[in-house]
Symmetry: C2
Subunit: 320 residues, 2 copies
């Protein structure tokens, strides 16, 4: 029975990670950490789950929790992962990405724990890239252009120092945009889906967007968590892996697909407040490395993801 | 009359910056910030100086000080700049490099101050480099291998985001090892000079060293501060400049020169505790960019620096 620590336990990704672990033949004792909510302990199938409320910027408290629980695996999902939030609150964004990761890695080091940490990073680390350098591989250079992107680069560089200088077992990702049902409405595709459903239900008359010409590589969150468990099982210490679909889609294209699936046809309006100070025109990744090293590949068709997202918002909005 | 804010006011570099500003024909009102000591206000020639004690991890207090003082120039010298300390205390090192810089840049942004910030970085940012890529130019890739080095890379990446995303006026350096009288005895060359003087005076019988095969590019602190005032005056916003001598010297070679200048000949002993988990074998920089753009060049001969350092330790140790 493996002991698994999950940070960011009340976040979008964590819910799907639990679903996925619950489908596994193995048994897990899980400790979830969250700053925002407190749950009682609970069980799902093969999972025994307890939860603690903690602000991960408090290193001493985190270390004390780790000392008691002594995890085998740590899925470090906690993050202020919004690029736009990082432009508004750069300090908070940095602390809740880089500093909390450093607190975690340092706690593991100080305790001498023999556990594997999955350090989640972001495709935003690549930043502004030339079209000739696409798709992005793990060898591509960093050129981060937002506070969030810098925070994730810093986290990855710290990871490498902890692996090489201190011998801590860390596997890193650069996770591209993930989407799916349950994602908050401040993330771009979920925002589109929500607004389209609001419009369809007569709850809103406009659909507001930022810069829809940008191209991103979207992956279903259910494929993302499979990549994460795969890396905990068979990723190489100190290596970083792109988690992506290999396919670029413009926001405009995704918006059109969502409208078509929802059966509506309505012009959207551009809202300058949704435009960021600096943005990457194109981010598309190569997932060749994790495919070759670990045998993972995405399985959920893009259209199914969009359907599930629309369905999610319909349930949410009609339930009110 | 320019208003100048200096962080790290009680540090090694600040003293020389004051000396240099005092030799200028211009007048300056200076506010020094330090976490470690408190001085009364004082004057030196053309300088009117006040000092405040502050921990720069306190952003609100820093912002309040900036709002009152409204500097034209900020020399951000504050740093836990020891690589070896960063291996012992990675969190503290990171906070007292990256987070304090972020607090400063964000305070300037929030207040909308029209001032120029000199963001001091380090040659350690380059990290492990192949011999064929020497000397290091500003175009060379990062490969940071210590917590301190990562902290400085993070600071530089944040600087670029503040320039490009927020329009804050920041000029950056990658400062190579600086040495000179008054440097603390935990920095390597100052440690050698101190131990040699201790041995010469009969205060110690051994000279203990770490890995003396490593090669570094050393620059006299008095040349460093001239580079800093030059960059405040004529550096380009958003650009980074190497501050270095263009010349590599092994620690072994410097140790031999110091012994020769001190007139002693004594074997040194290797102390494993002084060996770091990971270290760069060779760091040598090119100062072509700052020479070409700003006309700065180093003026103090290396031997004079070493003589002055021995003289400093003689005065310190004989005064006891």
């Amino acid at each position: 029975m493996k002991k698994v620590l999950i940070t960011g336990f009340t976040g979008f990704v964590s819910k799907y990670l639990l679903d996925h672990l619950a489908d596994s033949p193995d048994e897990f004792t899980i400790l979830g950490l969250s700053r925002s909510q407190y749950f009682e302990a609970f069980s799902i199938k093969n999972l025994t789950i307890s939860v603690k409320k903690i602000d991960l910027t408090n290193q001493a408290e985190l270390q004390s929790i780790l000392e008691q629980f002594r995890p085998d695996h740590i899925y470090h999902l906690a993050s202020d992962s919004s690029v736009s939030y990082s432009w508004l609150k750069p300090i908070e964004s940095f602390q809740n990405n880089t500093n909390i990761f450093l607190n975690l890695a340092e706690s593991v080091r100080l305790l001498g724990l023999k556990c594997r940490i999955l350090s989640v990073g972001s495709s935003e680390e690549y930043g502004m890239v030339e079209a000739k350098n696409l798709p992005l591989t793990e060898e591509s250079a960093f050129n981060p252009i937002s506070p969030y992107a810098v925070a994730r680069v810093s986290q990855e560089l710290l990871s490498k120092v902890y692996v090489q200088g201190f011998g801590v077992d860390i596997v890193m990702t650069r996770s591209f945009n993930h989407i799916g049902p349950n994602q908050k409405g401040n993330f771009v595709i979920s925002s589109f889906a929500k607004q389209i459903v609001q419009y369809k239900l007569g709850l809103a008359s406009t659909i507001e967007v930022g810069n829809v010409s940008i191209i991103r590589d979207f992956l279903d969150v259910r494929d993302v968590v499979k990549a994460y468990t795969t890396l905990i099982a068979s990723g190489a210490t100190g290596e970083v892996y792109n988690i992506c679909s290999n396919q670029g889609r413009s926001l405009e294209e995704v918006l059109a697909s969502l409208m078509q699936l929802a059966g509506i046809d309505h012009p959207y309006t551009s809202n300058d407040q949704l435009i960021r100070p600096a943005d990457n025109p194109v981010i598309v990744g190569s997932n060749a490395k994790i495919k070759a090293h670990c045998g993972w590949q995405p399985l959920i068709p893009f259209e199914q993801t969009l359907r599930d997202m629309l369905q999610y918002w319909e349930t949410q909005l009609m339930g009110r």
